[in-house]
Symmetry: C2
């Protein structure tokens, strides 16, 4: 069963993530384990493993460090994001910077990133080139987002570029590397790359929708965070309008009315969420089409159900 | 002439550093260029190139990206250090976080680190394993330092571990990788590794001395910064004593007397600097001894004069 195999793989990835952050420097290991053991959907490692299996890979063990590495990239960026966003909770737990302070959070993010590098290095040049490019794009995406938020101006084009860089690029790299390691031919690598890229876009659009209509309990973090940071542009036809109306809720305002809650309510009623939802469905279909270029296999089926999972998730 | 060749190499490294940070995301490119073009001694790339030449390497071009990468690691850590230390100037210029703010400084540091990864990836597994380990150690060293400073307690053993991890490890990796790329045998790689490791220790001890007795004008940054951060432990027989006496200068105190200036004066008079100086000379001699295990060559001579340069620098 692919799902059993996958579950074994995820268990091995979790173990790898925990063991690789071993350090004499206690605070680094503690803070790293804090975020690593806080759950997370492990979507990116799943992608590495499924692409490997779908492309005919026979020895799942060989992809474990790679699968752990892509999850670690994601984890490292979460730690730094939480510093920049002043977030206090993540996955229902207190954030590293809230618990250990900014200096150690910054260093922990750096540390996790060096662990990505350590886990990837043995795979050799072609894989490391792909991973390095994905990491660089990810940082570009985060920065573009911060710059747009600061300028208080984000159009659809910029939004698309941001989600492509900050999310889809790592999904893409995960799937591509997994396929390559299984020795897939160029056509198959390309189909798996395209699938994952569009799955990444789907994931991020749904993420941004959940920031507006999600249940904070299920998400393990407050909603509206992206909106407050000036990033909740997706759900409207014209992002600028939203951003003009948005200001950080002030202490005085909270007593009478909460501008964020009002904003969220307005957005929910505006139909903007439905537009975003349609876009998510559209890119999800692109992922499905790419997937159908592969020969049928249990791994392909699993990848298809991943699309629905990403599209219909509530957390 | 080795020195001419080296100068050409450094020029190529500078060009590589500038071109690799090219990005559509303007703020990343601007902030990156700001720190890259701010000077710097380029010691680590020099080490890569000299080790390569000393080990008989014939085509300096092949080490340029590697030499640029080790400088980039150093540069990335400076950007993040300046955030954590709240430093306003670096190499006589305003720091990135002072000019672009903390969010963009954090992201620029991350971006530079992805550029290290991009430049190194093509060299393949053995080199990337060494580089990844050095990066990881560097972050461990920075963290150990921050933890000791926070605890207000640092002994000689911890200090030695810190400078070994945060400085000597990257020096060591630079020299080792350069030698390996030239196809040096194990014995030669080991001699060059040992040389660079001890040169790194020398460099850091001198750096800490300059933080106490240096000329702020020449250094391009204020002195006493490390002391204020609780890190200026080196120059005493027993670090704890210094740290107990040290507190951040308060606004009220400045009017009558400046505790930092008093502290610096006390340290200068205590003979502690002389003790540190002797330690620097000792590790410098270890570097020289390791170097003498190599056959004589113009590159070896240049590496020897680097020891004196590092030991006797005033900036």
């Amino acid at each position: 069963m692919v799902s059993d195999l996958l579950q074994e793989g995820i268990t091995a990835v979790e173990e790898k993530l925990r063991s690789v952050v071993n350090s004499d420097v206690t605070v680094l290991e503690d803070a790293s384990l804090h975020i690593i053991t806080s759950g997370g959907k492990r979507l990116r490692p799943r992608l590495v493993m499924l692409a490997y299996l779908a492309a005919g890979g026979q020895n799942l063990e060989e992809v474990i460090p790679m699968a752990a590495a892509v999850e670690m990239v994601h984890t490292a960026t979460l730690v730094h994001d939480d510093i920049n966003d002043h977030s206090l909770t993540r996955r229902g737990k207190v954030t590293i910077h809230a618990r250990w302070g900014r200096t150690f959070a910054l260093l922990t993010g750096d540390f996790l990133f060096t662990k990505v590098y350590q886990m990837m290095a043995p795979y050799g040049a072609p894989y490391n080139i792909i991973m390095a490019d994905a990491c660089s794009q990810l940082v570009e995406g985060e920065t573009l987002q911060a710059a747009a938020a600061k300028a208080g101006k984000m159009d659809r084009e910029t939004y698309k570029k941001i989600i492509s860089l900050k999310t889809a690029s790592l999904f893409e790299a995960s799937s591509r590397m997994g396929a390559m390691l299984a020795g897939a031919d160029e056509e198959m690598v390309e189909a798996l790359r395209e699938y994952a890229y569009n799955l990444g876009l789907t994931f991020q659009i749904v993420d941004d929708i959940l920031d507006i209509i999600g249940d904070p309990e299920k998400l393990g973090k407050p909603v509206g965070t992206d909106l407050v940071q000036g990033r909740g542009v997706l759900a409207t036809e014209n992002g600028e309008v939203v951003l003009e109306q948005l200001e950080e809720p002030t202490v005085t305002a909270v007593a009478e009315s909460d501008p964020l809650q009002e904003m969220l309510a307005r957005l929910r009623e505006s139909g903007a969420v439905d537009v975003a939802r349609m876009q998510a469905i559209e890119v999800a279909e692109r992922a499905r089409t790419a997937l159908y270029r592969l020969p049928p296999s249990p791994a392909r089926d699993e990848m298809e159900s991943l699309i629905d999972l990403v599209l219909n998730r509530d957390r």
